[in-house]
Symmetry: C2
Subunit: 444 residues, 2 copies
């Protein structure tokens, strides 16, 4: 019995899910620096969206407690040691990546105010925040980890002690079996991308420490900045859909050319700030095929790409064909697969998102990286003895929905993943076309 721990635990009115602003994805900080420098006066709206509509989140989670957790997150500030780490640490081999000006901004940063309500009809949580883009962007990850962890706390509440015990034991066994399969892959480059949909902070920590132990140098870091700092791991990440979505949204309403150029303008600004391994483009915001077809040659010279909403084999082949068509050697290019990746257990048939299968297909043909998210830090499928499906992860996102008052749109390579007001989506589809877009079921 750790008496001090027990007494210490009693000093908190509740158990905060997010305890530091650095408990976020590293790419939010990279993007925020660019937004702070070049888009300080652009304003953004971020909203929560649960794509798993069958799960009525507002009826599972106590809305009062949710508000308590969110309000607690708003009391957080970047701590001195965290800012020193950001300032002094080498990221992707680059020193002094963050400017003193930006560090000063982070020192004063707090999460902007938000609106929260429950929609009685859909049973979903309505969350919206509005503020300077470079500030509001920081809500994404804490919001998602808070809502996800609160959902799991609610499900676990009321389970008996032994049911919980076997649940966690099975999840540990499952994780270990997956890691053992990965351990055999030659030249593995696997990163934890699981912050946003993790089961809980402590479980994510458990998963990544176990991965680091089992995979050795095949485990190359984590997207979680706080865990990277705490455990001496590499902080990983580049950029996300919100950049091209926002750049497009702030175009004049009838300026189709501005829309078309937005996806490349993002990259132009990005390469002014970052170099080397950070030059990884995300091609699918408005459809990968049109993006590659119209891309300027300098895009082909970037270090790599992160396909996100297309079948991995098809996406990889498409990228290789793109580089070959631009007379660039694919073997020197990096592809990071990070969309719904997983590892089949022994005896299971590997699906299209199976890391070993994708590795087998592309290893040696390109430089490979894997960003393993939900199914690394939140795989409890079949672990609950009473209900194997009770802990199935949901497809929860926090997306840019408007910039400077104009609605934001995402098309993606998956028809059903499109987001935005229908009229705007139609307009974007007219501008960008729908070459190579599939109607595949959405993966988590």
């Amino acid at each position: 019995m750790d008496f001090a721990r027990r007494a210490w635990d009693h000093s908190f009115p509740f158990d905060p899910i997010v305890r530091t602003l650095l408990d976020t994805d590293f790419y939010k900080i990279l993007m925020a620096q660019m937004l702070h420098e070049k888009h300080f006066n652009d304003f953004a709206t971020f909203s929560l969206l649960n794509r798993t509509t069958g799960i009525r989140l507002a009826e599972t989670i106590d809305m009062g407690e949710l508000r308590e957790q969110l309000d607690h997150a708003r009391t957080l500030r970047f701590e001195a040691n965290e800012l020193i780490w950001l300032r002094g640490q080498t990221f992707y081999g680059q020193e002094g990546m963050f400017t003193p000006h930006f560090i000063d901004f982070l020192r004063r940063l707090k999460l902007p105010d938000y609106e929260l309500s429950a929609d009685p009809e859909s049973g979903q949580i309505r969350f919206e925040t509005h503020g300077r883009w470079c500030e509001a962007t920081f809500w994404e990850i804490p919001l998602l980890s808070i809502v996800n962890e609160m959902r799991y706390r609610a499900i676990l509440k009321g389970m008996s002690r032994s049911r919980l015990d076997i649940l966690y034991a099975r999840a540990k066994v499952k994780l270990y079996a997956k890691l053992e399969r990965l351990a055999g892959l030659e030249g593995l480059n696997l990163t934890d991308f699981g912050t946003r949909r993790r089961h809980s902070f402590l479980w994510q920590e458990h998963c990544l420490l176990t991965a680091a132990e089992v995979l050795g140098k095949g485990f190359t870091g984590t997207s979680n900045a706080y865990l990277a700092m705490t455990h001496g791991l590499e902080a990983k990440g580049t950029n996300a859909h919100e950049l091209p979505m926002g750049f497009a949204a702030i175009c004049a309403p009838d300026d189709d050319q501005c829309l078309r150029d937005a996806q490349y303008k993002v990259l132009q600004q990005w390469q002014n700030s970052y170099r080397g391994e950070l030059l990884v483009f995300l091609p699918d915001t408005f459809g990968t095929s049109q993006f590659l077809a119209d891309a300027p040659q300098w895009v082909a010279n970037w270090t790599g790409a992160r396909p996100d909403s297309k079948d991995p084999a098809a996406a990889g082949e498409e990228l290789i064909a793109f580089w070959e068509s631009r007379a660039v050697d694919p073997a020197r290019k990096l592809i990071i697969f990070s969309d719904g990746m997983d590892v089949a257990l022994p005896g299971e048939a590997p699906g299209p998102h199976d890391i070993p299968a994708v590795h087998a297909r592309f290893h040696g043909r390109v430089r490979l990286g894997f960003g393993w998210g939900t199914m690394l830090t939140n795989d409890f499928l079949g672990c609950d003895p009473a209900d194997g499906g009770s802990l199935k992860p949901i497809s929860l996102v926090c997306k840019l929905t408007a910039a400077n008052g104009h609605p934001a749109v995402k098309l993606s390579d998956n028809y059903r993943k499109a987001m935005g007001p229908p009229a705007e989506v139609e307009r974007y589809r007219r501008v960008f076309g729908s070459a190579g877009v599939a109607d595949a079921p959405t993966l988590v």
Copy 2:
């Protein structure tokens, strides 16, 4: 990280201090059986009294949380396994001590309703419960352990993690040093009497398990029925002041002879129910000296005595002289010292309540037993690095204050420990005299 434990802890809205009705002193159950059998229609009032008036309890403890804890205690019932243990266990070598009729009563028992308020003037908690004596009597121990533990939780709240860590480390070191001193005492017979004023349930458990390990067969059991059951220890205890107090209070208001006889009538009823080692009288309710002077010869034939409010050396010598005056060999008689006992640490001067000192004086002259209470399960003096005195135990009691509507009175061997309305105390002093009564400062 014990994930299951953490998730399990989340399923409770608060951390209950008392989790079973069996978490009480064994003597309450012994007394209740007699009361149930012979005094089922007598009604009693029990009240809380903090003799350490400088500690304004109602301002330290959150009254809403206190009510929550007390209401939770009222939801508890004796569990089937607990009743089986009471029914089947051998206590003091006696089988079948509890009748099926009484076990049935326990099965249905719940703590009676209570009144709770804060007195703004004294800063004290007012607690009063009224009901059948055999039911209301069960409030004493849970009430005291709840109020005490809530006080410590309130004090500990807000201490830093490292301050808590050193606090508990020092308390463990101190406990161990005391136990090592006791381990050398020949024929030691030491019992835990520390439930009512314990620091916390878990700390009491830690203390008694450590005592059992260090003292071996010198540690002879615990007054806590639940801990005795759980850890296979002997449950210990006999009877308390409430019996003669109640017997006296239910006398007709002008019947002085009934008052004088009450203290012996209790023992007559007791020996109808119990035998052997349970025949230990508590002589000090209305003053030890008058009790012994007027005692019938059969009282001298009881197994032993438990002096409670007199200097231990004086009390022991007085009992030995009593037995000798009745032509009874003191060496065959048992004295249990249980009032404010403690153990001086190496380098400290032993006080009158020092167990080794009392042992040195009486070992070989009588059969000796020690009931070690507050300073076994709640010694944190000097353990808090910031304030050595912050955790000093308080003298908190829950006493019978009326029976069948008549006020109850206790005189004790300590003038300042007298309890009851002043006019009644005066009447009792007239009836019983004040031979041998001291005006010593009250010990915890």
